[in-house]
């Protein structure tokens, strides 16, 4: 029976720790900033655990020890008093040393974090919206400036500078596997430097409550080898693919005639709205509506037919479309790779 219990306990612990791995975990670092922070977390937790055990032991020992019966309870014992005083002084001294030590550690960790992006070649402006992320790649050549949404491609192994701001309320950018969190504040520009050691997809999440759909405000950092990243950037700079097939052609027409055109931009068409995600290459993304749905024809249709059912409160209204119209628009958007 006892063995069974301990096996169950061990299994539970393993399962529990499994939650620390994966594409969104501060305990599974994939970049220098996150590694620094993970080390700090483990060191703080370990040291504090040791201190806690010592304090508990110090409490337990006098509780267990029987106090001796003195013949003269009121007699002063100068020797014992000064021994006790010494113990207390040593404990106070150790506490001070530990606190100052931990402060210094976090100070130096901060310096390391600040140095990560000092030679960043790539600057990306991330703007928080209720409830999605606008992503703009800066470049000295205006024609190479690129705007996309929700997914941030970066070259692996290179530091990248993120400029964080917001248009409505305060959001917070947090990709735990790569770095700590930093707020996006309206009217202010915060700077966060990140670096992914290896190619991979790292999930991030808005970490400051920002309204009804805060929980569905995810983002993805997609780290790729430099060559692949450059190719992606060049692809994204192209105007939208011209629709092929009758359905897609009708879909483009509908998109431009119906309310979609008021909010969304599709490069190469008259649609130039800037208050909603840029759809020029929407089908090349892995998810829809900031990580709410995976990208597929069915999910595109579900989203456009009833965004308020998928993400209640989102700032995209239900647009009255017939079944055929919906089908045409989806056929068009699906081709925007």
């Amino acid at each position: 029976m006892k063995r069974l219990a301990s096996i169950a306990f061990a299994t539970a612990i393993v399962l529990f720790l499994q939650g620390c791995a994966g594409w969104q975990s501060a305990l599974d670092p994939k970049g220098p900033a996150a590694s620094e922070l993970a080390w700090l977390i483990w060191f703080f937790a370990g040291l504090c655990a040791v201190v806690w055990v010592l304090v508990m032991a110090a409490l337990a020992v006098p509780l267990m020890m029987r106090s001796r019966q003195h013949a003269e309870p009121l007699a002063l014992d100068a020797g014992a008093d000064s021994r006790k005083l010494r113990v207390v002084m040593i404990a106070v001294g150790l506490t001070a040393v530990i606190l100052v030590g931990l402060t210094l550690l976090s100070f130096f960790a901060n310096r390391t974090l600040a140095a990560i992006g000092s030679d960043a070649a790539l600057t990306i402006r991330v703007t928080g919206h209720q409830w999605w992320w606008e992503v703009r790649y800066e470049d000295a050549t205006p024609s190479r400036i690129l705007t996309t949404a929700n997914e941030i491609h970066i070259p692996a192994g290179e530091p990248v500078r993120l400029l964080l701001t917001s248009t409505d309320v305060i959001h917070s950018f947090w990709v735990p596997s790569l770095s700590g969190k930093l707020d996006l504040i309206p009217g202010r520009m915060n700077v966060l430097d990140i670096k992914a050691d290896k190619p991979g997809v790292y999930r991030g999440q808005c970490a400051e409550f920002c309204g009804a759909q805060h929980a569905n405000m995810g983002t993805f950092i997609i780290a790729e080898p430099r060559a692949k990243f450059d190719a992606w950037w060049n692809d994204q700079l192209q105007p939208a693919a011209a629709p092929t097939g009758d359905e897609a052609k009708a879909g483009e027409n509908l998109f431009l005639k119906r309310p979609c055109v008021m909010c969304h931009k599709i490069g190469g068409t008259p649609a130039g709205g800037t208050v909603a995600p840029d759809l020029t290459h929407v089908a090349s993304r892995q998810t829809l509506a900031a990580g709410t749905l995976t990208m597929s024809r069915g999910n595109l249709a579900a989203w456009i037919a009833d965004p308020q059912g998928v993400k209640p409160g989102a700032h995209m209204p239900v647009v009255d479309l017939s079944g055929d119209e919906l089908n045409d628009i989806v056929a068009y958007l699906e081709g925007l790779k």
């Binding site: 309206p186 009217g187 009804a212 005639k257 119906r258 309310p259 055109v261 008021m262 909010c263 208050v275 009833d306 308020q308 059912g309 209640p312 409160g313 700032h315 209204p317 239900v318 647009v319 009255d320």
Partner: protein, 177 residues
Amino acid sequence: MRPIVLLLLFTLLALAACQREERDTRPQSALGSGEQPTPVTTLEPGGQRPSPTDNKAASFEANAFHLSEGKRLFGWFNCSGCHANGGGGMGPALMDQKWIYGSSMESIHATIRDGRPNGMPSFRDKIPDDQIWELAAFVRSLSGNAPSSAAPSRNDDMMAHPSENRMPDAATLGKSP
């Protein structure tokens, strides 16, 4: 006995504060389409229609959620480009008591949906009907024609005029007639 009754009363009062406005994010199906013939003239025997006749007009008019959505869309759809935050520019001012085409929700809805001859574009296919009603409700709040308990309060950035819930009724400027 007495303290228990008092406590119960107090709890009931406190619970009343839990009542919260419903945010109806897709009223479309529940209510009518809002389709109505465009009035060729606003002249009607007996003056303006005294009360809202469309059920959406009635349910949006005093609803804080719809009013604030209307405010956001007024910026998003660039109504300010011609109406300059309600103060008027290329289009007429929307925060005074003068209405070319009538001050009722229905008239404003018709103005936005069908456009008006002297330069107001038609947004018929470009804005879903519910959002047109939200805009209409907000336009009325610009001239103090919305309940101050529901109208939007101050902006987070610089304001061109007092917040909508503090706008005096343009027709009376706060004075009783």
